[in-house]
Symmetry: C2
Subunit: 193 residues, 2 copies
């Protein structure tokens, strides 16, 4: 399989403090094993189904696919611009990694690899759908702006970053990251486009 | 995330007999947990890196992504036609599931779900790259046709099916399967196409 490469950088890494909330806080680095970020609330090969999977009974144990949340600095700026707020901190929406220098970051295809200079390799598991809970957390920082919880999902569509799994265990820290983009294909159901 | 649905069918399921070889043999049904097919040699959330991942030292423990091999009956027929052989049995190339009725099966996007009527749900983890070992196994059945091992990888490109992981545990058996195709996107690196 041919890969296209982009040299980019990780500008911040964040971890969940000792709480059940999804907020994350900047740290110097993250350690991972193949089930995710060690010590993080999303660590695990599996997780219970929730509101994102209405087709499964709530609580059904399922493959995770959501070990790590990765966002792009440029896209957070664009969401902030759309919401007309001064800034959107990655920790408010539970991001673990902030990258910079990748055009159309959230549009990276499923299966793209993030090869971190510090050792870990991640696999893109697709768009992270924006939700009202993250929007409500943003709103908490702008109490004079009611309604941000509902505005966020629309403003952040295709800009909220990706979820990823760990393919090779290792460290994640600010610094170089190489994005490996697999050959892309468009299923057309047998019809020409 | 919007999904497109295709109603198709599973026409055969196959399991690895008690051997270290990759060949599979038809069975009445398969049982899965979230790490793969119970009793299969590819069962596991992780596996050692091999020839498919020359960028990792051989034997490095990595995320699997190859729990299950799924092929399409129509595509096996097309490979056989290209190789000018009477037939290509799915067990010769280690397939676990044979589907029929999905146009361009191997082109299904990463992240497509296979919702099996018998209960299991699989996630497409991408094309299964054809290799010479599978080609050699085909050649074993056509001893008067030397060179099939080398001809197979070229003839089978984008027709060799997909690898998949289990998203929801359950049974897999011949019968109905619904293919759920996620919204597709094409990363263009910021340029218009």
């Amino acid at each position: 399989m041919g890969f296209q490469h982009i040299e980019a950088r990780i500008v911040a890494v964040l971890a969940t403090p000792a709480t059940s909330h999804f907020r994350t806080e900047p740290v110097a680095g993250l350690r991972t094993d193949l089930a995710g970020i060690i010590g993080d609330r999303h660590h695990g090969f599996t997780r219970p189904a929730g509101a994102r999977e209405p087709w499964y009974p709530r609580g059904t144990e399922m493959r995770s696919g959501r070990q790590v949340s990765v966002v792009a600095a440029e896209e957070l700026d664009e969401i902030a611009r759309r919401l007309e707020i001064p800034r959107l901190e990655p920790g408010w929406i539970g991001a673990n990694i902030v990258v910079a220098g990748v055009p159309e970051f959230t549009r990276l295809p499923w299966g793209a690899r993030l090869v971190c200079g510090a050792g870990a390799v991640l696999v893109n598991e697709g768009d992270n759908a924006p939700c009202r809970f993250a929007g409500a957390e943003i709103g908490r920082h702008y109490p004079d702006r009611p309604g941000l919880d509902r505005q966020f999902p629309k403003a952040a569509i295709h800009l909220r970053g990706i979820v990823a799994s760990i393919e090779r265990a290792g460290a994640i820290a600010p610094g170089a990251v190489t994005i490996k983009i697999p050959e892309q294909k468009l299923w057309t159901g047998g019809t020409l486009i």
